[in-house]
Amino acid sequence: MSEMQTIKDMPTNDMFISGHGACAGCGMAVAVKNIMRILGADTTVYVPASCLVVISAMYPTSNFRTPYLFTAFENTGAVTTGIRAAQRRRGLSSTVVGLAGDGGTFDIGLQALSGAAERNEDILYVCLDNEGYMNTGIQRSGATPFGAWTTTTPVGTNVEGKREFKKDLMAIIAAHDPPYAASLSIAHFNDFVKKVEKAKNKKGFRFLHVMTPCVPGWRSDPSMTVEIARLAVETGMWTLYELDEGSARTTYKPQTMLPVTDYLKLQGRFRHMENDDIAKLQEWLCAKWYMHYGNDIEQPVCAVFEKVKRVRHPHEEQLHFI
């Protein structure tokens, strides 16, 4: 069978079926459903503590039509390694996928993830990034963006939302030099299909990073989930790229950079943000944009920040973004 390239090539067979308990308009459910369609029936799923456990695997039922395992929060890398080792021992082979949230990847699961990546285990690790601990009631994580409101980065008189920028997880992954790593968006359909298909067919440690808008956590309208994911790419909040056998490339480049306010205004978690903070976020985004897409075309929204064009990422050489 030739490789899947577009939505039309995708199998119609659902491996993650209807009847789950996710909120209406859940971005994570969109991502998981399509990843499972592409991976197919010959897959073993591991999920650490996250929304995905709660919505899809309330004992005695499950929404996955594949074997499914759940243990603790911090060990996605270790458990998927173990499942794969058991399969090797028994002479079986199937795609072993770990579907972890951003808390279970950026923060709590980082050591097991790093271990599995360093050993180049034959597993697929998917980070479903909704930028916070949404399952337990919207706490901040290493993935929460600058300025966002969460219950642990409240909006008060002295501090308004999170003060730190989002952790660059992909740089950490890239430092392990995995065979394949890519960032995905649920709004860029064909790009999504190609990357998951590529990750499925490779051997060794593969990492996929999906942005999954969260309706209650981001205080957004359920119908706008995919639109928010699209605007994240158009404003530079999210970049679509892949690291394939050590060479990096961006897989989609927006025509012009939209101002970040287009993205912020659809989400209640940024409602409090004032001009100073928006400018600070925009400046950080401009530096990120020029790093990813090159600085030969000047972006109008970045014209006020004179120095950002010269800012170079400290890990630029390792990331192979030249």
């Binding site: 789950h20 859940c26 119908s223």
Partner: protein, 299 residues
């Protein structure tokens, strides 16, 4: 012991209503407890919350199975689950609806009060959060607490969390509901269909908790067993599909979180409304506006 069970949808404020009710009882000098149903329900899903009121210290900690008072925050729940299950024969019910009590069918004939809490909430709070309005009706029906202590409880609870203006608006909504409550007796024609559950003892649970596909006590278990969970009951708006306009891009099929959009052989799509939660993503992503969202959860 006076036991109350609230039925609502995630996001309507059923838990807050139970807590406020308990606080009103405490203001009256009684003992009270309030707690939500412990489950995995998300926004829009049918949820429950409970409250207990007594003159002595309450030691029981279980859910309320046989309530004296039933509070239904969303009328559409009457059609999708047997809300009156376990209600004591002499019990009472308070229902958020524009209908008369005699038009309501709970499956058992009890004293029933109705109140148009949604329109009251829209008037006073500019949002369909009906929990405080319905508490006004509860104060009307129950002689355990006065309207004064109910309003005091609302102001305490909402003032601390959302500020003084919100507290006053919520108390005003409760007062309006108090005066608009209609009392009567409801009908008892609806048959009860209890939901099947599998309640294994320890010998029935396989080693390692690993379940294969199968049926236990009428419940589908194991991989794929969740298909019996018909999430279409969450829906408050329904997609309408115009096949003439459809360009078969399959964006809606890809973007549906529920997987309830089915792809036909000819690449047109159809909806399995048993599972559609009515999020509206399909209408939003459609490039030719072949889908629009109609109000209401019906087909």
């Amino acid at each position: 012991m006076f036991e109350v069970r609230f039925h609502g949808r995630g996001g309507q404020g059923a838990v807050m209503a139970a807590q406020t009710l308990a606080e009103a009882a405490v203001i009256e000098g009684r003992h009270a407890q309030a707690f939500p149903y412990f489950g995995a329900e998300r926004r829009g899903a049918p949820v429950m919350a409970f409250a207990r009121i007594a003159d002595r210290k309450i030691s029981i900690k279980s859910q309320v199975y046989e309530p004296d008072l039933l509070v239904v925050l969303d009328e559409s729940l009457l059609d999708i689950e047997p809300v009156a299950r376990g209600l004591k024969p002499g019990g009472k019910a308070v229902i958020n609806t524009r209908k008369l009590p005699t038009e309501i069918d709970l499956g058992m004939e009890v004293e029933c009060a109705t109140v148009p809490a949604t329109s009251i909430a829209m008037e006073y709070l500019k949002a369909p959060i009906v929990n405080t309005a319905i508490l006004g009706a509860v104060a009307m029906v129950c002689d355990l607490f006065s309207m004064g202590s109910m309003q005091q409880a609302i102001e305490n609870r909402f003032g601390g969390k959302f500020g003084e203006a919100a507290a006053r608006a919520n108390a005003a909504a409760a007062a309006a509901a108090y005066s608009q409550t209609l009392r009567g007796r409801c009908k008892g024609n609806r048959p009860f269909v209890p939901r099947r559950v599998w309640l294994p003892d320890w010998r029935d649970i396989p080693i390692g908790n690993t379940l294969g596909e199968g049926v236990k006590d009428g419940v589908t278990v194991g991989p794929g067993g969740a298909k019996q969970n018909l999430t279409g009951s969450w829906r408050v708006q329904t997609p309408r599909y115009d096949k003439e306009k459809c360009v078969r891009c399959l964006r809606c099929w890809f973007s549906c979180p529920e997987g309830c959009i089915k792809r036909e052989e000819d690449e047109y799509v159809r909806w399995d409304l048993n599972y559609c939660k009515g999020c509206g993503i399909c209408a939003q992503v459609c490039p030719v506006k072949a889908i629009d969202m109609m109000k209401g959860g019906s087909r």
